[in-house]
């Protein structure tokens, strides 16, 4: 099964919406690759620079609750995908965004608040990284000479979508 992981980008706010992830004016692009420069362009957070090194290095995003609320635009998962961010870990997700992630064979992982808090404790370290094992339903975060592992819940359907590489391939063989 596909392994997810790498450097982590911490976005310390709830309700980060799809307009902040990819503004509507870029929805006129008709290839996923063309979205690449606009990742998180309209997100205003203290210390966050959408064009900065931390953003370009990120492979995993950690955030708070109701991540991806708003529009149904799959451009939001796609702009992550083309920037090699293939997993988002948050307290909760908006339904459409979460399903779009799994439908694309990516991961939207929910953890309870105390575990998200524990992940945010790593935010100060320059070398923070995470690995995720969807099959084993566990993730490991490391940084500043420390490391911790957490287990997570994921629906069997969403796991199957990641395994199949996404919903189109899954549905095409079954329906």
């Amino acid at each position: 099964m596909k392994q997810f992981g790498g450097p982590v980008l911490f976005l310390d706010r709830s309700d980060i919406n799809t307009d902040e992830i990819i503004p509507a004016k870029y929805l006129t692009e008709i290839t996923k690759e063309d979205l690449k420069p606009y990742i998180l362009e309209d997100l205003k957070l203290p210390g966050f620079d959408p064009k900065g090194e931390k953003t370009s290095a990120a492979r995993v995003i950690v955030s708070r609750s109701n991540f991806g609320c708003g529009s149904s635009r799959e451009h939001a998962p796609w702009v992550f995908e083309v920037n090699d961010v293939t997993a988002v870990v948050a307290e909760s997700f908006a339904r459409i965004f979460r399903q779009n992630m799994f439908n694309c064979g990516m991961a939207a992982i929910e953890l309870p608040k105390e575990k998200i808090d524990a992940l945010f404790a790593y935010a100060g370290h320059a070398d923070v990284a995470m690995s995720l094992d969807i099959a084993a339903q566990s993730l490991t975060v490391s940084g500043g000479g420390k490391s911790e592992s957490f287990s997570f819940e994921i629906s069997p359907f969403d796991k199957a979508l990641v395994l199949a590489g996404g919903w189109v391939d899954y549905a095409d063989t079954k329906y």
Partner: protein
């Protein structure tokens, strides 16, 4: 144990349950627009699967940017147009016949109680006003919907909102839904169906119910469902009169989709709306709402009246009644975008368009326009818009712009004063 509307629809449309709690449903209608569909089309072509499951169950419209504003948007429209022609999709609406999807498709009579509906647009929940299960989905779900006529959902849990009392004068469906979102929060109904019940909903027109259901997604809701009744029958009658011997027969048939009295809910919340005030958002989230008494006087640069939330004839009539014989303030500019050509035409015949234009409104063609900052009416940095749309995210209507969501009545009063104003004094 009885069932909710959503549970009844899920049971009747079940194709597969690949895992406990995941239901794959047969789709009655798959709707498409030119922003989220072209990539689905391109991907299906790349996979050698340029097919559609049923030409009669697919409806398509160019609505987000129309007329096209540049080469890219023209290409998106062309991709949808060429695809519709290639597959003989007759219910395709192009410029001259096109309107905002969630206003146009109900107006054409495409929705029935008990239907399953998906579209690559988050406000697809609007169609739940007819007692249907209608959900916004992404492009991959849309692609599978187009190809196979199915979509997967988690088992639906329903929150029942009992809307009791009588709405006071000057208070409308938009105020109700803004208030409800304020009460439950922007993720208060995530993974839930919002069921709107009670005397306030019973007294609403279909237009008002669509406004209510339209914003279910702003509380995180999968769908916003109203119970089908005689109001639903009357609205759909032109489209169903050959299917039923009488309106009473249609009503009896539709009743099968009403939630049972002993249905089990995830939660039941009671509201008395008899003292509700006109309600307006103040921040960058739809749950940040204030009664008009606390926000009146806030200056705005632009007023926008339109969108899938509030661009219907009823909305135009309400606003026109306030604007009649008055002028918009010189400090503000105002835009009206009737949601469909039919609404535009009826507004013309009723003299509403004259009222808007004499008041100083710019009237555009039916389009999603400024709602999501893609088309005509975008704000400049630092500008503020009083809007009848459904989202007030930071920069939504243009980078650096701010939006206050409100009813058509409040937007009309605001246009007159150039600052957020109480509509009740003009009624």
């Amino acid at each position: 144990m009885g069932k909710t509307t959503a549970e009844k629809i899920f049971a009747s449309h079940l194709v597969d349950e690949p895992f406990p709690g995941t239901k794959v449903l047969k789709l009655d209608v798959v709707m498409c627009h030119e922003i989220t569909t072209p990539i689905a089309i391109a991907d299906l072509m790349a996979r050698g699967k340029d097919r559609v499951f049923d030409t009669s169950r697919i409806k398509a419209v160019v609505d987000h940017v129309t007329p096209s504003k540049d080469t890219k948007t023209a290409t998106q429209a062309k991709m949808l147009r060429d695809w519709a022609r290639r597959h003989n999709i007759k219910d395709f609406f192009d410029i001259g016949a096109n309107g905002v999807c969630h206003a146009l498709f109900p107006e054409k009579g495409y929705i029935r109680p008990g239907y399953t509906v998906i579209m690559g647009d988050s406000h697809t929940c609007t169609h739940g006003a007819f007692g249907a299960f209608a959900a916004g989905i992404g492009t991959t779900d849309l692609e599978v919907g187009i190809l196979k006529g199915v979509c997967a959902f988690r088992e639906p849990k329903t929150i029942r909102f009992n809307l009791n009392g009588t709405l006071p004068k000057g208070v409308y469906a938009k105020d109700v839904i803004l208030y409800l979102i304020g009460q439950v929060g922007v993720n208060g109904a995530t993974d839930r169906v919002m069921e709107f019940r009670g005397p306030v909903v019973d007294a609403m027109t279909m237009e008002s119910r669509m406004t209510l259901s339209n914003m279910a997604i702003e509380a995180g809701g999968t769908s916003g469902i109203c119970m089908p009744d005689m109001v639903t029958v009357e609205y759909l009658w032109p489209f169903i009169q050959n299917d039923y011997a009488s309106k009473e027969a249609a009503l009896a048939d539709f009743a099968q989709w009403r939630s049972d009295d002993d249905a089990e809910y995830d939660k039941i919340i009671d509201f008395d709306l008899s003292n509700l005030e006109p309600t307006v958002t103040f921040g960058y989230k739809p749950d940040q709402v204030k009664p008009i008494s606390e926000i009146a006087g806030t200056p705005v640069d632009q007023v926008y009246l339109g969108s899938c939330t509030n661009g219907r004839l009823e909305d135009l009539r309400i606003a026109a009644r306030i604007l009649k014989g008055r002028k918009i303030d010189t400090s503000v500019r105002a835009i009206l975008s009737p949601a469909t050509p039919k609404i535009y035409q009826e507004a013309l015949h009723e003299g509403l368009i004259d009222i808007f234009m004499e008041a100083g409104f710019c009237v555009t063609n039916p389009t999603c326009g400024a709602c999501l900052g893609m088309s005509n009416g975008v704000l400049a940095e630092g500008e503020v818009c009083a809007s009848t749309t459904n989202r007030n995210f930071m920069g939504r209507m243009g980078k650096g712009g701010m939006v206050h969501l409100m009813s058509p009545a409040t937007s009309a009063a605001t246009a007159i004063e150039g600052k957020i104003a109480d509509p009740r004094k003009y009624l």
